[in-house]
Homo-oligomer: 225 residues x 2
DNA sequence: GGACATCTTTACGAAATCTTTATATCGCAA
DNA sequence: TTGCGATATAAAGATTTCGTAAAGATGTCC
C-alpha cells in the first residue's frame, strides 16, 4: 500500500512544520506550498490525495484557491483558518470544501478528520478482477467475461467459477468444493460437481471436450488455470 | 422534486424543536426520535438521507448507536454533542461519523455541513447525469429520460432506478436493494422488488418481456446495464 | 371527506435453476 | 482386448424463483 499524499498550502512555516511532523509520523507523505499559486501548480502537476488549505493566504484568498481547485480536483480539501467566522465557514463548505477547522486545532482531531475524508473519497468504483487467460471474473460486479464478452452464468455456476478463480493453479478436492458451494452435508455428492463443471466448461472453454481452464485431476478434484 | 429526509436522534425536546424549525424552513423533511432505540427502529424501517445524532443519550450511548447504525447505514451521520472532548470526536469520526459538531452550534454552519454531507453522499461523481443506452438519469433534478423524452416515475421507482444507475454493470443483491430503498428491516421482502422492477421495466424498457436494461440474476438480484 | 396516486399484499402461471437418473465415455491395468 | 472405476453428458423430473395482475391498504392533496 502506497502512502497517501497530502498537500499543505499555508504561508506560515511554523504551521507547515507542525503539520508535516504530525502527518509524517502518521505515515502520510507530505508536500508543501507556501502560497496559493504554488499550491495550484503543485497540485496540478501531481494531484495529492488530500489538500490542507489555509484560508488566509497572502497572494490569493483561500476562497479563490478553493474555487480554482474545485474546477478539476475532486478529492478532499480541508480548510484551516484562524477565522471562526460563520459566513466564511458556510461559504467554504458550499464551495466544495470537505471540512473546515479553526486554528488552533487539535492535531488528534485533524488527523481523524483527514482519515475520515480520505476513507470516504476512496471510490470503490474499480473492482478487483481476477483474470486468467481469456477469462475475467469480476468479484464485485459478479460478472464473468470471456474474450471481453459477457457470459451468463447461474448463481451456482458463478459461485463455483469464482472459487476456482480465487484459487488459480491449486488443486481443489471434491470434498472442498462441495463443502464451499453446497455446504458441509453435501461432501459426497460428487455427481453435482460433474454436472456443474460440465456446464461451466460449455460456457467458458473454447473446446469443452478438451478443457484448457478447468482441468480434471482424476480421483482428487479439479484445478483451474 | 423530493425533499431530503433527516432523522434527528436527541432526547432534548427543545433541541429537536429548534432543529426541526431550521431544517423544515430549509426544505428538509424531518423525522424525530427521542431515544437511541427509537432512532434505530425508525431508521431501519425507513432509511433517511442523513442522521443527526446526539452523542449524549439516556438509554444507549451515542457511540453504541453510531456503531449499530454503521453496520448497515451508509449515508451521512452527523454527531451533535455538548462534549468538546477530543477523544470523543476522534472516536466518533473513526467509527464512521461523517462530521462532529459541538453544541451550541451555529445553525448556518450546521446547515452548510448538512448540505455538504448530503451532496457528497449523492455520489454524483463528476456528472450529475448517469446515462446508459437510451436511458438518462439526472441525479440532481431526480428526473429520468428515455430517448430524450421525460418519463414519470414514482418516488420509489426513481430511488430504485437511481440506485441501479449508480451501479451500472454490477449485480445488486435483493438484500442490498431492499436495505437501501426500504430499510434494514425489509431485507426479506423480495416480492416488493419483483413488483417495482416490473413497473420500472414497463416504463423504461423497449420491450418489457425482453428487458435490455434491468437484467434479473436469478437467485441473486438484478443488474442494470 | 373524497378523489387520486402510490404502496403493500395475495395468488397463480411461467420460467429458470437444481437435482436425479440413465447412459456413454475415458484411462488404465490385467 | 476386456473389464473396472472414475468421469462426462444428456435429459427428465422436482423445486425454487420470477413476473404479472389485481385487490386491498395507506397516505396525500384539495
Amino acid at each position: 500500500m502506497n502512502k497517501a499524499e497530502i498537500l499543505i498550502i499555508d504561508d506560515e512555516p511554523q504551521i507547515r512544520k507542525l503539520l508535516q511532523i504530525n502527518l509524517e509520523s502518521n505515515d502520510y507523505k507530505v508536500i508543501q506550498a507556501s502560497s496559493g499559486k504554488e499550491g495550484l501548480i503543485l497540485s496540478a502537476s501531481h494531484p495529492p490525495d488530500l489538500i490542507l488549505l489555509d484560508i488566509g493566504l497572502p497572494d490569493k484568498s483561500g476562497h479563490e484557491i478553493l474555487h480554482e481547485l474545485r474546477e478539476w480536483y475532486n478529492k478532499p480539501i480541508i480548510i484551516l483558518s484562524v477565522q471562526d467566522n460563520e459566513t466564511d465557514i458556510v461559504s467554504a463548505l458550499d464551495h466544495g470544501a470537505t471540512d473546515y477547522l479553526t486554528k488552533p486545532f487539535r492535531t488528534g482531531e485533524l488527523l481523524a478528520r483527514i482519515r475520515s475524508a480520505i476513507g470516504r473519497s476512496q471510490n470503490t468504483e474499480n473492482s478487483p478482477i481476477v483474470s486468467c487467460g481469456d477469462i475475467e471474473v469480476d468479484l464485485v460486479a459478479r460478472t464473468v467475461k470471456r474474450k471481453n464478452e459477457a457470459i451468463k452464468l447461474t448463481s451456482t455456476e458463478y459461485n463455483l467459477l469464482a472459487l476456482f478463480a480465487k484459487n488459480e493453479g491449486k488443486v481443489l478436492t471434491h470434498q472442498y468444493l462441495l463443502k464451499e458451494i453446497w455446504g458441509y452435508s453435501y461432501q459426497t455428492e460428487t455427481q453435482y460437481l460433474r454436472v456443474f463443471v460440465g456446464t461451466l466448461r460449455k460456457k467458458i472453454e473454447e473446446n469443452p471436450n478438451n478443457p484448457q481452464h478447468i482441468i480434471t485431476e482424476s480421483g482428487v478434484g479439479y484445478r483451474f488455470q
